[in-house]
Structure formats: C-alpha cells, structure tokens
Amino acid sequence: MSWSSSNYLCISSSSSSSVISSNELARFDRCRLACESEGHRGKCQDLNRPTNIFAYNSLKPPSFKFDKGQRRKDHVLKKPRNISAYYSLKPPSYKFDALEPYMSKRTLEVHWGKHHRGYVESLNKYLEKDDILYGYTLDELIRVTYNNGNPLPEFNAAAQVWNHDFFWESMQPGGGNLPILGLLQQIEKDFGSFSSFREEFIETALTLFGSGWVWLVLKRNEKRLAITTTTNAVTPLVWDDIPLLSLDMWEHAYYLDYKNDKARYANVFMDHLVSWNAALARMARAQTFVNLGEPKILVA
C-alpha cells in the first residue's frame, strides 16, 4: 500500500517515505487535531518536517529540506500552523504552453490555476470541517458523496477535481489524429466508423445546454463504448461506467480562446488535442473489469 499512488497528500509536501506505519498515522492524527486549535504551534512543527520514519524512534530531529531562514521568519511572524491537505492539485503532464495554439497558455493558467485549484481547495476545506469523509480515495469519495442522486455538498468539489484531472490527461501536445489498435477496432465496432463516432461526439458537445462534460465511456453492463453527457459536475463513475475520454464543455474551458464558438472548440479538440494514447491505456485497464472480446469457444 502506498499513499503516493492515490491523490493523497497528507503530511508534508516533502514527504519522501512511501510506506507509513500506523504509529506515524496516529501521530499525524493527533497532530492534525491539535493543529485545529490555535496556539499549538509548537506541537505542530512536525507537519512541516519531511516524514522520516527512521527519525521517529530516535531523538535526533530529521534533516530539514526547508531553508532555515524561512523557518525562523515563520516563527517571528507567528503564522498559525494549521496546515492540512487531503487532496492535491496535480499539474498536467505537459507545460502550459504545450497545447498552443489550440488551447492557449492563458486558458491553462486560469483553468488549471484558478478553477481546478479552487475546486481542490474547497474540497479540502469541506474535509477539514468534518472527519466523517476522511480516508477515501477520490474515486470512492465521489461515489459516496453522490449519494445515489442526492448529492452531498462535497460532491461538486470532489467530482470536479477528478473531472479536471481526467480532462488534462485526456489531452496531449500533438494530439488528435486517429486512435489505434484495439480502441480503433472497438470504435468501429460500436459506432460504425471513426468519422461517424467523431460526428456524434461533436454533435453531442454542441447540443449540451448549460455547463457539463461530454464523455466517451465503456459501458460496463452493455460491454460497449458510448458517448454520454453529464451536467455540471456529474461523472460516469457514479453510474459505474468507465470513462475513456472527456471534453470539458463548461464555458470557462473555451471562452478565452473561442468565445462562443463551441463548434470550433470541439473540432479542434478532436483534431489536435485529444490523447488517443491515454484513451487506449484506459481501455486496456478497463478490460480487466469488462470482457470485450468474443468468447473463445473451442470447437471439438
């Protein structure tokens, strides 16, 4: 079990250990609870230190990665040490200007840096208030807070964090073109041809009213690909379908670059941004759960 594999950021950003003992967990918990009230700065200094399980049992404090001058300044300014974060803001795996000229650097800066970051911060703020939702992975949190169609307040924030992570990964510099291998075969099987899939995807994006997302999903029960739309923050995860691609049709995703021209945005996404590699990898992973192939019946 490794916390670094999920969207967890629990102790400090410079945590280098990936295996956390239960002692460490208890210590973090006590520390976190202590930090929630002001004036406990001394005890909470642990939160800023890199976790080092070897240091826990020794009396020597672990070596700091922080600049000592900065630490002293914090002391002097008497900043409250109630830092706690549960989910992190993951950057896209490409630079902000890598998707130019199809998605501008400015859009990435605002979309990721303000909107996505805002969702992460509001999710963390919700979780700070109440322990009851502490300890889920992001996927599980979305399902739990969706509450079968009667969403809890945390749902919008949690789902939007997940949706945006998924969206950045659905795009790549030099994207577009055609899918390959099994994904292309599956698309041709389920939509007739790639061009009719593309047409349907863009048509769906244009007829979506209000804010929402367009998805290429693998339907678990029907064992086929489909194009679906969701409004606001909803994601196909809540219906147990497996998303392969998404397109953000909230206006903030395209307004700076395309203003009201949704058609051009959707076409550019399909032609130049979509990452078929990511979709292929997701479909390959999905096939662990959904058997897409024809059963191999041995003939006697």
Partner: protein
Amino acid sequence: MASVTTIVSQLTSSAFLPATEFCRLSQSLLHWSQMQGPGIDLKPPPYALDALEPHMSKDTLEYHWGKHHRGYVNNLKKQIEGTELDGMSLENIILASYNKGDVLPAFNNAAQVWNHDFFWESMKPGGGGKPSGELLELINRDFGSFESLIKEFTIAATTQFGSGWAWLVYNDKKLEVVKSPNAINPLVLGYHPLLTIDVWEHAYYLDFKNLRADYISTFLDKLVSWDAVSSRLEAAKVLE
C-alpha cells in the same frame, strides 16, 4: 406599433447605432414591449453597448448580446416555425414549453431570450446605489435591511453551481431571493421577477475570468437599476 417594431428590428440587425438614436428607439421599444404581440425579435439593451464600461466591457456586451442572445433568438425562431408555438408571445411560449417541468425543445431558447431581455433591462449606466420608496420599505420588511438583501442575493448568485441565474422576485406579496439553473426562470413557478443577474460564465468571463464574486459585487454596486426593479414591483403588485 407594428411599424415601430419592424423599423427597430431592421436597424438592430445591422451595425450598431449612434447612442442618441439608440436610446430614443429603444425607449419606445421598451414601452411597446409591455404590450408586445407575437413576433420574437432580438431587442437591444436600453443603452449603448459601451455604456456600462468599465464595469461591464463593450466586448462582453458585443459577445453576450450580439452572439449569445442573438443565437438564442435565431434558434428559437427556427424551432417554433410552423409549430403551434409560432405566433405566441414569448412569455406564453415559455409557459407552454415548460410543460410542468418536462421541457419541450423550445423552452431553453425561449427562456434564455426572455432572461437576457430582462437582464439588460435590470442594468443601467450609472446604476447601483440604493433603492427607495416602496421597494426599500418592502426590502426592509422582508430582509431586515438593504445590506442583508445584498448579502442573500450575493450568496444565491455565488452558490448557483454551473450555469444559471439569481433572482429577486415578488411572490405572495413578499420579496424573495431565488436562484435557478441553466434557463429556468421564476415565471414558470408563477413568481413575478423583479431583478436578475446572469451567472452563466459567458456573462463575466471576459471581464472577471473566474472571479464570480467580484462580478456580483460590481453588478450590485455599479450596474443594477433599482428604478427598473421599482417599476416592475409596481406592475407585479397590480397583478397579485
């Protein structure tokens, strides 16, 4: 009445008019619009497109009115052509296509046309300030104070997730603040809308990007036309 409407619709479909002519024509149009017969048209705002600078830029007006609002009007016309909705007044189209919640395709466009008309008229150059007279009395009665109305309206507008609108309405002889998603408006609930703010992202993205709170406070401080709200209140009281 018909001749005024056709003249204005011919003019508005071309480039922008000089401010004085605009004001004169649109003022008469505002008067006619109270008794507007059938015919869906793109009504211009009752002020020039740059009149709300610097609080709402000309760019925003050009796109918001010139592209989005115009798009809704054109799409609606296409949708109702040849159907039973053709020839009905806009409000009746909205109520008919709302269909008790099971909306027909024309609803979104019709409601958005109405909402945007209402929105432009809810603002004016040099707006803001405080309401007065009967409106202020009712606000103090139903919200406690003007500041608390502002607070409640701001909360409604900020917490409308995704696209939508926040409204001040008159219902059951009381003022209320409500919010609605996408194209829904309080007409379908039988309320009398008095004021609205568009919180679809296209309304504020060019000027404020993600800072919806700043947009809302600018709207309330500098743009809102309390005169329009007062006159709508008068009209609503007659109907209640």
